[in-house]
Symmetry: C3
Subunit: 272 residues, 3 copies
């Protein structure tokens, strides 16, 4: 555990307040030469699924290190704080609410997990509501500083960790039953399938597809880029995470369809 | 002054423009291995009191270092730029307008103070409006780099520094005269007292209290967490800085009460 | 190329998503002891001119290093990714769309330029839309890590680089033909001239000037600070980049005039 001097950090704390800065302060107080990468702090408030999706997609671009993630609607209850070591050697520090599990699975799955119960490795006094500052950030920094995981608390079975499944689209005959993973700030809808799955049910880039969603029935170009359609028209394109995304060229697809994360969608061949 | 390689940074510059980034550039140009912790850059514009409250509460979570703070409504006038050394050894760099004094007092009070008048330790030409970039950030970085405080300018008496008092609630018989310290982005109102003071006037968690504020008269649960009350109801809870906070479960207390930082509030026993 | 351990970073990615964080992750994965300075990530979406203006003004406050800039409306087309070495020794990594050229000129002009075509120095697979992550950030980090520019691809003539001219005000008789460079978040309009040019056509601080703009005809104080005029009045003041700025004391000049970046403006002597 020699050179783990990087902590990545994802949360729903926002950047309007001092929450993120205070967590940085706590971590650099423990290990002054730490590098912290702020992946994302605008996860929708208390939306564990949103945090899990972003972390799952981002983790492969992160350097080896300790991955701190805090979206914690059940802070102050019996939910468990944990450190999880993956088969690939990454270490995740988070509440045991599923938040990091899709990312853990991207890193080979969990090899071991320990509870964070050792008070001497937390801030004191510990608040009831800000465990990011008092429990999780100190743990991440201590691990980066070389403290062994087993010092934090008892080992717990990895198959007892709280899971969170991010659904994958389900092919049926000539169409896909899919759903919206997340919206970006432009209203583009990231969907839970990639090009390969779409090709399996017979669709190919360049063709048109029919999309049913939130009461709408759309005939949409399945293109290579936004520029394949006129301004204001819908297009299905691959995003930078190899997921397909439903967008409007220079428009807001989410607003047009009144769609949100989790909205269901059926994608089939266009016969219009 | 060997290993002061951390600068913490608080300002009202916002993150919409290049102001914060330019100050980082200036500091890393002076000391390339500096670590900078951005505590908060969304202090309400020119609101010295808001900055002072956030810095006072955050400072104990920060590592030893140089603490740069810029909320500077009087930039370009005769207000003095200063570096203040505290009894605990922390160094603050800021305009002498009270901004850092509550935090200085958290660090044992001021031991010595020097004006920042040495032009060779500032950027040149110096602008009339951006002393964060031209005066304060260079000073913080030079101090982190080992330049002695006395190199910056003449010593000034610490009892001549501009004070700023953050009022503490005043107990009277069975009630408290208090005020709102600040709002967070969810509309929760942080108040200027802790549990101990409230208990001194006879109130205890689990009971109800009467709150008079902005023409409203509320009977409010004094609870352990938001979940102690129904959605949409008021609750008085301890926040993560050991201050009590008036909140609405999943609602916006500030909007409901038309309250703001500085609003006065009377907290007494509920006889409703 | 020993000690280039700093990368500055400007983009239009915003801070709402994980884009900036992912680019940080990619760079620290290549060089774990890199310092990254985020200059500005709220450049108006796809607005190359806005990015160019901010970078030109910020660059002189940045330490020696690699300067990564990504505002890239033509990503996925034939526009060329380049690394440019300036006569002063700075290195810029960006799309060849003019974005960095005004800043390059601040650094003595381009001395040499190389295309970024070596796939082994990019991420794989490379997305169609996120070249910041897949092409530019890796290049910046590899250069900071000591990889020679010539390893990235063929040299191209510097006079074939795409230029971008930021217009300078044009004096004519007793007045200036000028334009708005950019707005800040308070609605202040940064203009494309400095005090010296204004004095050349006979105007001096303390006098009043006549401004014609967007159908308005204003008689405006040419002052030293906002406080030279009453609240709600217009004032022409020098900003912290030595440019003159049209502002309203405690008001929003852009909203009052319905002005935007690029709006033309005529500044002459006030005869009102």
């Amino acid at each position: 555990m020699a050179k783990r001097s990087i902590v990545t950090f994802l949360s729903d704390y926002g950047l309007q307040d001092e929450f993120v800065g205070v967590c940085h302060g706590v971590m650099l107080g423990i290990k002054s030469d730490l590098s912290i990468i702020d992946i994302h702090h605008n996860i929708l408030r208390q939306d564990v699924r949103h945090g899990a999706i972003v972390l799952q997609q981002s983790i492969k671009f992160m350097p080896e290190g300790v991955h701190l993630a805090v979206v914690d609607p059940a802070v102050g209850t019996e939910r468990r704080p944990v450190a999880i070591v993956t088969r690939h050697g990454e270490i995740f520090v988070a509440p045991d609410n599923g938040l990091v599990m899709p990312a853990v699975n991207e890193c080979g799955g969990a090899r071991s997990a320990h509870l964070l119960t050792n008070r001497s490795l937390m801030l004191s006094p510990m608040s009831a509501t800000f465990h990011g500052r008092d429990v999780f950030a100190p743990a991440a920094a201590h691990i980066a500083n070389g403290v062994e995981i087993k010092e934090f608390g008892p080992e717990v079975p990895v198959d007892g960790l709280t899971g969170l499944e991010i659904p994958v689209a389900w092919p049926h005959d000539d169409h896909l039953h899919a759903e919206v993973l997340q919206l970006d700030r432009f209203g583009n809808l990231q969907l839970n399938f990639n090009q390969r799955i779409l090709e399996e049910v017979g669709m190919a880039a360049g063709k048109r597809v029919e999309i049913r969603m939130e009461g709408h029935r759309l005939h949409v170009a399945y293109g290579k880029s936004f520029a394949d359609v006129e301004v204001g028209e819908f297009v299905l394109v691959e995003d930078s995470y190899e997921k397909l995304s439903l967008a409007v060229n220079k428009g807001d697809a989410a607003a047009r369809l009144q769609a949100a994360a989790g909205s269901t969608i059926i994608v089939g061949p266009s016969v219009g």
